[in-house]
Symmetry: C2
Subunit: 223 residues, 2 copies
């Protein structure tokens, strides 16, 4: 979320703006027959500070309160809200699947699920397959990104372990390749993309560009 | 390096301050019988922007010019200068071992070597063992950090592959565990440490805390 849409903000106008934006997203999802609104809904991307336990607790309470209200609307609309842990350089609030589970339990609304992105998990989780297993039936969306955000299969993410864990928990949702090229200026800045990770966006995600085991074992089954 | 010591800066006073700081470090190293000054010497930590190719070239030229001059003094003093690639959230200049090799070739001074930190390599390199092999005899310092900066062996870094690659290139230098706890406020901010990675700093690096294969195969040989 952008800073002016941060539901954990000290500023009540910013919190209200964040909640109102999510309600717009839910309406938009309904209008296009989508059942998912997902991302780091809990805070602003780039909000990384070492704050006191008191301040942390205040921000958390504001976030939970807003997401609880939004969650009621989402449930009525039949829209799932994905909570995506980000790596430590993008947020100080939810870095781990374990932290996302705690947040969802605190919100207490069934619309919330977990959105795992392996680029972030590669930095934060001890084991990505174990993180997937711990999400279990709470997993609602999945981004299959290589450790450097290049073409999946060209780096060191344990894709076979990821596949086995997704199978084991019975995940039937989409597996999305999310990456960026320096050509998309705004998002390149946000995602810290300073060098080309593939000749083009299409090339990055093209099945033909995937190493054989990934194309054969992974991509086909989870599209 | 701090922003006021950035040898790639647009500001000549800041560049001069950066070079002068490195000369002080070389003198200090000599005074304590150390043969190494190492880190992201080329730019300021946190300098992450999407800039034009022209601006990139200007910053690079300034950096190379300063490091070349510093390198002459380092050579005379018998001090190795380590160039450490950082991950994309900490610098937009040198993220890969390959980029460090190019920079060192451009500087053209034998004092410069590569300093690999596996926390950063885990985000940027396709294969950490291959990155070590590509550094080869240019490897001058090594930080063995887990993917989350927790105790090595508790995450998903391929430590046996790292060991094999270090052996293969005949690396005889130190292997250092670098991590941080939220208790060290300034460095915790810089390294984005928002949650405890171990009960204490000693606990994090204690050999007894390492899983048996890492303690047995890795730590003993490279200390």
């Amino acid at each position: 979320m952008a800073h002016q849409r941060d539901v954990s903000s000290d500023d009540p106008a910013i919190r209200a703006n964040g909640a109102s934006y999510m309600l717009d997203c839910i309406r938009l999802a309904q209008a296009v027959d989508s059942t998912l609104v997902s991302g780091p809904l809990y805070s602003a991307v780039g909000k990384t500070r070492l704050v006191s336990a008191d301040q942390k607790a205040r921000e958390r309470a504001r976030c939970v309160e807003n997401l609880r209200e939004v969650g009621k609307v989402a449930s009525d609309a039949g829209v799932t809200m994905g909570i995506e842990p980000l790596n430590r350089f993008e947020t100080d609030m939810i870095n781990l699947v374990e932290q996302a589970i705690e947040l969802i339990e605190e919100i207490g609304q069934p619309a919330y699920k977990i959105h795992i992105d392996t680029f972030h998990s590669n930095i934060e989780e001890k084991s990505i397959p174990d993180a997937i297993r711990s999400a279990g039936s709470l997993l609602g969306h999945f981004h299959a990104c290589e450790n450097d955000r290049g073409t999946p299969g060209t780096g060191h993410i344990d894709w076979l372990g990821v596949r086995d864990a997704l199978r084991e928990i019975g995940y039937e949702g989409p597996v999305v390749i999310e990456s960026f090229t320096p050509g998309a200026v705004e998002i390149a800045k946000a995602a810290a993309i300073w060098r080309p990770l593939a000749p083009s966006r299409d090339e990055l995600a093209r099945e033909g560009a995937l190493p054989a085991p990934v194309a054969r074992l992974g991509a086909r089954e989870h599209r």
